[in-house]
């Protein structure tokens, strides 16, 4: 029986984030907290694998206490158990410190039931790095497989799985020993409308909540802000283009002006990564 752990994160919905133009800070009030959209696909994939091969799906998150809501969302999708690690000492973690804390939690979850597979989202929409997944894999010394857009097969007995990794111009078929860690693309599946019994389970579900003290062998120096090599030194609003300019001249001339404006963002006009 497989034990799959999906790492999930609660994030502010960046689509509706508003900035306070004076202070350059986010108006968090306007940005509701949601389950990181990529992670919904990670959980869904874990659930699908469980449906194919049997087993248990646990979700794990590090975050503030309201992150319980994101865990409940995962129970709706079909996860069996949820673990929240929450502690002031985790706060301010960058990807390195986050992967450290999550690894310690996975160690503990493994003691409850050995873990065969870890699934992460491609990236979080607030951290936006995609680094946490591979970080966890390295710390656990298991293979990281990023950009996964299909799980072909899982051979638990034989100890390997086969997946597709998306490339810029196609995909590669990879065989990896297990346990391993997958970071999945959104295209890997569609998250369906959850059945009612899951909703009921989620409404009543209370996740396991751990603080630093509940974890073992933790080096406090590697947690949170202290354990984060990167620091944000400066935050500013990207310069807004000259607003409200009406272009003038003949249609031909207007188009030429427009072109020079949009071609300043030339980097956009490439073969876009599909996600």
């Amino acid at each position: 029986m497989l034990h799959i752990v999906a790492c999930i994160k609660q994030v502010p919905d960046t689509k509706i984030i508003k900035m306070n133009p004076k202070t350059n800070t986010m108006d968090r009030r306007t940005a509701p907290a949601i389950l990181n959209p990529y992670d919904a696909h990670a959980v869904e994939e874990a659930v699908r694998i469980r449906e194919r091969y049997g087993g248990t799906v646990s979700v794990l998150t590090m975050g503030p206490p309201p992150a319980v809501k994101a865990i409940k969302k995962c129970i709706e999708i079909g996860a069996d158990e949820g673990y929240l690690i929450t502690d002031r000492r985790f706060a301010g973690a960058d990807t390195l410190a986050t992967s450290y804390a999550l690894t310690k939690a996975i160690d503990k979850i493994s003691k409850i039931k050995p873990v065969d597979l870890i699934i992460c989202g491609k990236m979080s929409i607030d951290g936006d790095t995609g680094q946490v997944g591979p970080g966890i894999a390295r710390r656990l010394d298991i293979p990281p497989l990023t950009s996964v857009n299909k799980v072909v097969e899982i051979q638990q007995e034989k100890g390997y799985c086969v997946v597709h990794r998306k490339l810029e111009d196609g995909h590669e078929v990879i065989q990896s020993s297990m346990p391993c860690l997958l970071s999945v693309e959104k295209t890997i599946n569609e998250v369906p409308y959850s059945p009612f019994p899951n909703m009921l389970k989620a409404a009543r579900y209370e996740p396991h909540i751990w603080s630093v003290d509940d974890l073992e062998d933790v080096d406090i120096k590697q947690l949170g802000l202290k354990g984060s090599p990167t620091i944000v030194s400066k935050v500013w609003a990207p310069p807004k283009p000259e607003g409200g300019t009406m272009l003038e001249g003949s249609p031909q001339e207007q188009v030429e002006q427009l072109l020079s404006i949009i071609l300043e963002r030339k980097e956009l006009f490439s073969v876009k990564e599909e996600s």
Partner: protein
């Protein structure tokens, strides 16, 4: 950690089928500036099979040193094998900065390497600078859906690492015949030591974009007149590599599916560029797109409210303006791209 031991700016050179990815050449351009400011050498790391000859190319694009790992085991990119090579190289030669393209490969590799070193890694950088005295890398990137920019520092660890988005840095004009030093390296790594195998590589050509994830959205409104007229929007979107969006009235008329509706009862989008063509700019539409990076409106009616919500506006007939735009854009792009190496 003695920072004095760490010197030089490195770029991981991404290669496939014997061709260097454009982003790596762009990074050599950016790296050159950093290295010059610091008065250090610019290195490129080449890992692969039969890739030694590419060293000549990276010298032409600005590198002083090529660190080359040319072994059959590196035939395909794999996190574990490449990571081991990079760790080996970094531990031996101790650079102060390593840059990677923010491609699937670059990000995958950088994440793994940074964890093992360990050091800080800034993802998806769009601006790079370095403090001349300290060598502190100033890596800036958009955050929170592009709403803000943040500068990220890594003060206590070396090397400092960043992945950098494609097409934001500029490659230098190649200097034919420019020379550098090739340092050949080798690691002892057996196939059995590696836990993943590439079974097959499959090329695909189709691309599709989901509208709320697109960087460019070309949205059309009732002003296009008919489903046939609306084809113009599809054409422009295709030319620009963007997604097609629409106002509600267009969706209700059945010209496009609901998934493309932008606005209060449709999707909220924040692309980098939003075109509103033949859209009047009702508040319900505006709320769905007002946070876009650059909003361009084309409308016949100079009084249309959409202009108030736009950065740039063209008063004119879509059927006149858009075809010119498509034609001019194609020309401009083909001019820009000629010199470049294959896309990654």
């Amino acid at each position: 950690m003695d920072f004095q031991d760490y010197k030089g700016v490195w770029v991981f050179i991404e290669e496939k089928d014997g061709v260097i990815a454009p982003v790596s050449l762009e990074l050599l351009g950016a790296g050159r500036k950093l290295a010059d400011k610091r008065g250090v050498e610019l290195g490129g790391i080449l890992i692969g099979e039969n890739i030694k000859s590419l060293a000549a190319t990276i010298f032409e694009y600005g590198a002083d040193i090529a660190y080359v790992y040319d072994q059959p085991i590196f035939k395909h990119y794999r996190t574990e094998s490449f990571m081991k090579a990079l760790l080996d190289c970094s531990n031996k030669h101790k650079p102060e900065i390593i840059l990677f393209g923010a491609t699937s490969t670059g990000k995958d590799l950088a994440s793994a390497v940074a964890t093992d070193l360990p050091t800080g890694l800034t993802a998806d950088t769009t601006e790079l600078d370095v403090e001349e005295e300290t060598g502190l890398l100033l890596a800036s990137r958009p955050a929170f859906g592009g709403n803000i920019m943040a500068t990220i520092l890594c003060k206590k660890y070396r090397p400092q690492m960043a992945t950098v988005r494609s097409k934001v840095m500029k490659a230098l004009d190649p200097q034919p015949g420019r020379k550098g030093e090739v340092i050949e390296e080798k690691i002892s790594l057996k196939e059995a030591d590696i836990r993943t195998k590439v079974l097959e590589i499959v090329k695909e050509t189709t691309k599709k974009v989901r509208i709320d994830e697109a960087d460019i959205i070309v949205a059309g409104g009732k002003g296009l007149g008919s489903a046939e007229g609306f084809q113009l929007i599809h054409q422009l979107a295709e030319t620009l590599g963007g997604a097609v969006g629409a106002s509600r009235d267009v969706v209700e008329a059945g010209w496009v599916e609901h998934a493309r509706q932008v606005g209060q009862t449709g999707v909220t989008v924040t692309p980098k560029i939003y075109f509103a063509i033949g859209i009047s700019g009702a508040i319900q539409h505006i709320v769905g797109m007002k946070n876009s990076g650059l909003i361009i409106a084309i409308n016949k009616d100079s009084e249309a409210p959409i202009f108030e919500a736009s950065h740039y506006g063209i008063v004119g007939d879509a059927f006149e303006i858009v075809p010119i735009l498509i034609e001019q854009f194609k020309k401009a792009i083909s001019r820009e791209e000629v010199s470049h190496v294959r896309e990654v």
